[in-house]
């Protein structure tokens, strides 16, 4: 017991961080590694031949078994519908022939199930086997009789070839396609435009607001509570709220903008690409500026008053005080807030998804939205992963630039 206590005392650091590390590994690091793996494959969930990650040729045993079962079942039905007894015998023979092929294939994979790896020799054998089955069936159907299911059987039998799965490892091809995909560039442009404009506006308005709040004599608590509300409500709720205010037939904001002449008609607001994008930006600025202001306000409040008092004695005016005291001392707060806001804005998803869904005509699609659509609407997880990785790379570069060149320190020692 004592020994155990001593051990625990010695290794307590590791013992305490292990649970957190396990979560981070399972739900952050492993998925990112997995996404990276996906991006090297033509991985598509709705295509039976591409719904896994295959470096080498594979054989889908389950599909093969099912196919033979179906062929046999259909032939059994045909036997009842044909008129001549000689045809019935031919069907019997074909069934026997196919059964032999089936058994020879089964003998190759004793005790194996699911999807298995195959070599060149096996590949050749399987191709030949599936050709033999098809040839046997074709020969059967050359007989004149009342067959009913020819088309169905031939279609099912073609699945034998589908059971042979080509490797879908494509190396860097997905990334080449990403770079050549005009929609990727379009979405990157939209994302960068959105990020720079909205974060820029949030910084300017946030700074002004923080300076005003810092001077406010009364109602500070009230101002702070109000400022927290837009940040605290779910983005999807805020987006729906703005969707209502922006809608062409009963939205008050759309009506006002039309009256003022910013858009020609209220209905144009969400139906033309640039005004839809600006609407998204405005909704984001509405939601995030107060939060930005609170961050900067906290920074302002730790600047000692004595600095301003001595500056006043030296005869510096308000503007000079702002430039030489406030701004330099507020710089660390501004930079940290900017970094986190930029990263947040760059990965914008919820607001656009709910407000425009990427429309009109994909013109407000951010890169997150496009990646999500590729993965979950087209189920192309390989290509989607490549898009997302390119985006993650951009995020990495942005963070690196901020931390290196602006000298941000996230945790002081």
């Amino acid at each position: 017991m004592r020994k155990m206590n001593a051990w625990l005392d010695h290794h307590l650091g590791y013992v305490l961080v292990i649970p957190a590390l396990i979560f981070i590994i399972l739900f952050s690091l492993w998925p990112v590694a997995q996404s990276t793996r996906f991006s090297f494959f033509d991985f598509q969930l709705n295509d039976q031949q591409k719904s896994g990650l295959y470096f080498t040729e594979q054989y889908n045993l389950k599909l093969m078994h099912e196919t033979f079962d179906y062929i046999d079942y259909y032939l059994e039905i045909e036997k009842d519908t044909v008129k001549q007894s000689s045809t019935q015998e031919r069907i019997q023979d074909t069934q026997q022939e196919i059964l032999e092929i089936y058994e020879s294939i089964q003998a190759m994979f004793p005790g194996q199930t699911g999807i298995v790896s195959i070599n060149d020799q096996e590949h050749e054998f399987l191709v030949k086997a599936s050709d033999q089955v098809l040839a046997g069936l074709e020969a059967l159907y050359r007989i004149e009789d009342d067959f009913n299911l020819q088309e169905d059987i031939m279609m099912v039998a073609s699945e034998l070839e589908t059971s042979i799965i080509q490797p879908n490892y494509v190396g860097l091809k997905n990334f080449q396609s990403v770079l050549r995909d005009p929609r990727v560039w379009q979405t990157i442009r939209v994302t960068l435009f959105f990020t720079s404009i909205s974060v820029g506006m949030e910084l300017v308005f946030g700074l002004i607001l923080a300076l005003i709040m810092n001077k406010a004599m009364i109602g500070r608590g009230l101002i702070r509570t109000f400022s927290l509300i837009p940040w605290a409500i779910p983005t999807s709720v805020a987006a729906l709220m703005w969707a209502y205010l922006y809608n062409g037939s009963s939205g008050i904001v759309a009506l006002i903008l039309a009256r003022v002449g910013i858009v020609e008609q209220a209905t144009d607001l969400m139906l033309t690409s640039s005004s839809a994008l600006w609407s998204i930006i405005f909704a984001d600025v509405w939601k995030t500026t107060p939060y930005f202001a609170l961050l900067l306000l906290a920074g302002l409040q730790v600047i000692p008053d004595s600095l301003y008092e001595s500056a006043m004695l030296d005869g510096a005016n308000k503007w000079k005080q702002f430039l030489h005291i406030t701004l330099p001392l507020l710089k660390p707060s501004i930079l940290v807030a900017l970094l986190f806001r930029t990263l947040d804005a760059f990965r914008i998803f919820d607001l656009i998804w709910v407000l425009t869904g990427g429309g009109p005509g994909g013109t407000t699609e951010s890169i997150s939205i496009y990646g999500y659509k590729v993965m979950f609407a087209q189920t192309r997880f390989g290509y989607g992963a490549a898009i997302i990785l390119v985006m993650a790379l951009c995020v990495g570069v942005i963070s690196y630039l901020y931390i290196k060149f602006l000298d941000i320190q996230l945790i002081s020692d």
Partner: protein
């Protein structure tokens, strides 16, 4: 004289600012009280309804919203509970104990907080499908991805503020490190832990992307997702949408009013150096 003028200008700016923040909520609330006939056409731009009604709220409560709020509450509570515990012990180790690899671990924690959620959603979705975990409360587990790094970050800063002398005197008294942590540090850090819990709760309550992907079945929708499904494919029932907005905003409003100080301390703990 000039100061008086400036003060008035400041006052006006603040009032304008508060109005801009609050206007959408008020307008949405007023709409939610209008009968369907007044939401469209000329009635849409009237401030008050001619015939105020609660019909949209009644329709809403007959639907899925209460169940969705329940799901959100359960998922957020589970996540907040375990994330806060896991983060508290990890943050204590990072802030106070010496061990090899500490800086690396902190770097990993900070880096994961910068990952876009969309980088993990594909693999996690496939994992959930394989384990048959979609449409369940298991979604709380991957929520560690969004909540844990932030909670650890907030708590490391809070533990750093607890005076070291307390630990040293406990050490002289012969207490083990674990005992020092549970009996001395933890009680002192409770406000910080509470702050981390509130921030975690809000971020999980508000999460959309994973909830949309992992719990697509309406019986497991969270509030953030359920509310977006009120817009039908061909028709939008703004009455219900606005009523739902009001209903879903209320819990957030209560949390903000009650815990304003803790939230601000959590949000600004990284931004301010003291």
């Amino acid at each position: 004289m000039i100061n008086k003028k400036a003060e008035r200008l400041f006052g006006a700016a603040i009032v304008l600012y508060l109005l801009i923040i609050i206007f959408p909520f008020i307008w949405v609330f007023l709409t939610s009280l209008k009968p369907e006939s007044e939401i469209w056409g000329a009635g849409a731009f009237k401030i008050l309804a001619d015939q105020p009604t609660f019909e949209h709220y009644e329709a809403l409560f007959r639907g899925n919203i209460l169940n969705a709020l329940k799901n959100s509450l359960i998922i957020s509570t589970i996540t907040t509970t375990y994330v806060t515990m896991v983060a508290a012990i990890a943050a204590y180790a990072i802030a106070r104990l010496k061990f090899v690899g500490k800086r690396l671990i902190l770097a990993i924690v900070l880096a994961t907080s910068m990952f876009p959620q969309i980088t993990v959603v594909g693999p996690i979705y496939q994992l959930f499908v394989k384990l048959n975990w979609t449409n369940s409360y298991f979604i709380s587990l991957p929520y560690s991805m969004i909540a844990l790094p932030v909670a650890i970050y907030i708590l490391v800063i809070h533990f750093n503020k607890v005076p070291k002398e307390m630990e040293e005197s406990a050490k002289i008294d012969g207490a083990s490190k674990m005992k020092t942590f549970t009996d001395i540090i933890l009680p002192l850090a409770l406000p910080g832990i509470f702050t981390a819990a509130i921030i975690t709760f809000i971020s999980v309550w508000n999460e959309f992307l994973l909830a949309l992907t992992l719990n697509p079945d309406s019986s497991y929708h969270t509030a953030t997702v359920a509310i977006t499904f009120l817009r039908g494919q061909f028709q939008i029932f703004w009455g219900q949408v606005t009523a739902a907005t009001v209903v879903v905003t209320i819990p957030t409003l209560i949390i903000v009013i009650l815990f304003q100080r803790q939230i601000i301390s959590g949000l600004t703990s990284g931004a301010v150096k003291e």
